[in-house]
């Protein structure tokens, strides 16, 4: 038996998994994440 790591991290619920690919919510997240990334880019240049 290979020495696998015992993983007991929390698993996402069905609701969380649904929201990860729920289009209207992801459109909002798309805008938000882009904003976060632009902040990092602006801070780093």
């Amino acid at each position: 038996m290979p020495p696998y790591l015992r993983i007991d991290a929390p698993k996402p619920t069905r609701g969380t998994l649904f929201m990860r690919t729920f289009l209207p919510w992801q459109l909002v997240r798309f805008a938000w994440i882009n904003l976060k990334m632009f902040r990092i880019i602006a801070k780093s240049h």
Binding site: I7, T21, Q26, N34, I40, K43, H45
Partner: protein, 484 residues
């Protein structure tokens, strides 16, 4: 008139060349020396490696692009630096060996006023017996490697469709590897593709890593603000594996890769074997083996390069224990301390030390990640070095543009499944890349700018970045407006 020579046409070298050409006058020359005729957008090799993209989607010919903008391109590898010239000819020069078809072998001496070493890494598969495409495992480090990996992966999928069970191992092939993030990205993409092919139940997927904990990624991990908590990135990485049913072996050094078995050693001193049907294991990196000589022809390589082959720059290379590592140990302008007209950018510069806490077995086998230098910092360093050189040509006393990895952030999008409606990716930002515990005593990073989230939006961003950065690399109209 000045001549800037850039060794390497990867993310850092190509960025440095493009900006140097843009900022210098037409009377000045920019020359790129690279052994490969193509540019490879390496972050998308992951998708080539699972058969989603052909390798032509992540590569293009450099020659026409450089001709268009007036960059001299020599398809050759650099073999020796002569920063003081040779004999009575005091002009600094680099000796190159042509690699273009029909011209392999002839050497030429290329003189320079400023030289940027952006040669990237040597993929050191030889560090582990049996590792690599020439041995018993696969890689996604180059587009060719990734295409071969896709072929083997799809063969395995076909066998699973016939009912066979397969064990697929993904990770790193040595205790001192870097790029754990790329291996992580590949394993979750592979898992997603197995589901898409309808054979997930036939596969046992194992992630094999030298990280002390999952989610370290060679940057000492990160603490993410999510759901009202500041949570270690380890929890998010483990959660993704728990959700996807991916097994993990951490704190591991690969001793040997046989045709169907990987022999590993772990930090606690235990040894074991992991049987596999397919193994994609990334290699450790070293410098490309450039030598340096003074005017009399004496070998001065140890003055210019660190023992691992990467180039010494303005970092603090004094050996000190982990507790005494400081953000200011990291280089700011990437200038050689030995020669003012010599710079290193991207993976080619020698880091002062790792970022993750070092660990070794009782017998002394080091098992901890080397520091990564991913696309964004590599490109930003390339651009900063170009700015400094252009300013020095214009009369500045020294480098003008700092770009320390301890003072810059990084935005990273790690694909976790490529589909425009069901795919996901982890979008991560960290600031700074190298933790600074003097400025941010608790976690080493500014938590306002350190963020992570998994979702479809990340996948859209990944697609956008793929096209945007390839557009930029092709130096099409407006390329300079796209940030690194």
């Amino acid at each position: 008139m000045a001549r800037v020579v850039i060794l390497g046409a990867g993310i850092s070298g190509h960025t440095a060349a493009a900006f140097a050409r843009k900022w210098l006058g037409r009377g000045d020359e920019v020359t790129v020396v690279s052994p490969s005729p193509t540019y490879n957008w390496i972050p998308s090799n992951i998708w080539v490696g699972v058969g989603l993209l052909p390798k032509s989607s992540v590569e293009f010919e450099l020659g026409p692009v450089y001709r268009k903008v007036g960059i001299d391109f020599k398809q050759a590898r650099a073999v020796a630096l002569h920063p003081e010239g040779t004999g009575s000819d005091g002009r600094p020069a680099v000796e190159i060996e042509w690699t273009s078809s029909g011209e392999t072998g002839p050497r030429e001496r290329v003189h320079y006023d400023f030289l940027v070493n952006a040669t990237g890494p040597k993929l050191n598969f030889a560090a582990t017996e049996g590792l690599g495409p020439g041995g018993n495992s696969l890689s996604v480090c180059t587009a060719d490697h990734a295409a071969e990996t896709a072929r083997v992966f799809l063969e395995n999928v076909a066998r699973m469709k016939k009912g066979e069970r397969r064990r697929l191992v993904v990770g790193v092939g040595h205790g001192s590897c870097t790029c754990e993030g790329a291996a992580f990205e590949y394993v979750v993409n592979l898992e997603f593709e197995l589901r898409r092919h309808g054979v997930r139940d036939k596969a046992e997927i194992v992630f094999l890593t030298n990280e002390f904990d999952l989610g370290d990624f060679g940057v000492g991990g990160m603490t993410l603000r999510r759901g009202g908590y500041l949570t270690p990135g380890r929890v998010f990485a483990e959660s993704l594996f728990a959700e996807r049913g991916i097994e993990a072996i951490t704190r591991a050094h690969v001793r040997r890769v046989s045709p169907d078995v990987i022999e590993i050693e772990q930090l606690n001193g235990s040894t074991s074997e992991v049987a596999f049907d397919m193994a994609m294991l990334l290699p450790p990196f070293t410098g490309v083996g450039l030598r340096a000589f003074d005017a009399q022809g004496a070998d001065i390589t140890p003055r210019v390069f660190a023992p691992n082959g990467f180039m010494r720059v303005d970092a603090d290379y004094e050996k000190k224990p982990y507790k005494e590592w400081r953000a200011k140990d990291w280089p700011r302008v990437y200038q050689s301390p030995a020669y003012r007209n010599l710079f290193a950018a991207g993976i080619a510069f020698a880091p002062p030390h790792a970022i993750s806490e070092p660990h070794a077995t009782a017998e002394g086998t080091p098992i901890s990640p080397a520091p990564p230098r991913t696309g964004m910092p590599s490109a930003m360093i390339g651009r900063a070095v170009a700015r400094s050189i252009v300013d020095m040509i214009g009369g500045a006393e020294g480098p003008t543009q700092p770009a320390s990895m301890a003072e810059m952030g990084a935005a990273c999008v790690a694909s976790a499944g490529a589909n425009p409606f069901t795919g996901t990716a982890a979008s991560i930002t960290v600031y700074p890349i190298v933790p600074d515990f003097e400025r941010y005593p608790e976690y080493g990073r500014d938590q306002r700018f350190t963020f992570g989230e998994i979702g479809l939006a990340g996948h859209w961003i990944k697609i956008l970045l793929h096209h945007m950065f390839l557009y930029k690399a092709r130096l099409r109209p407006g390329w300079a407006l796209i940030p690194e």
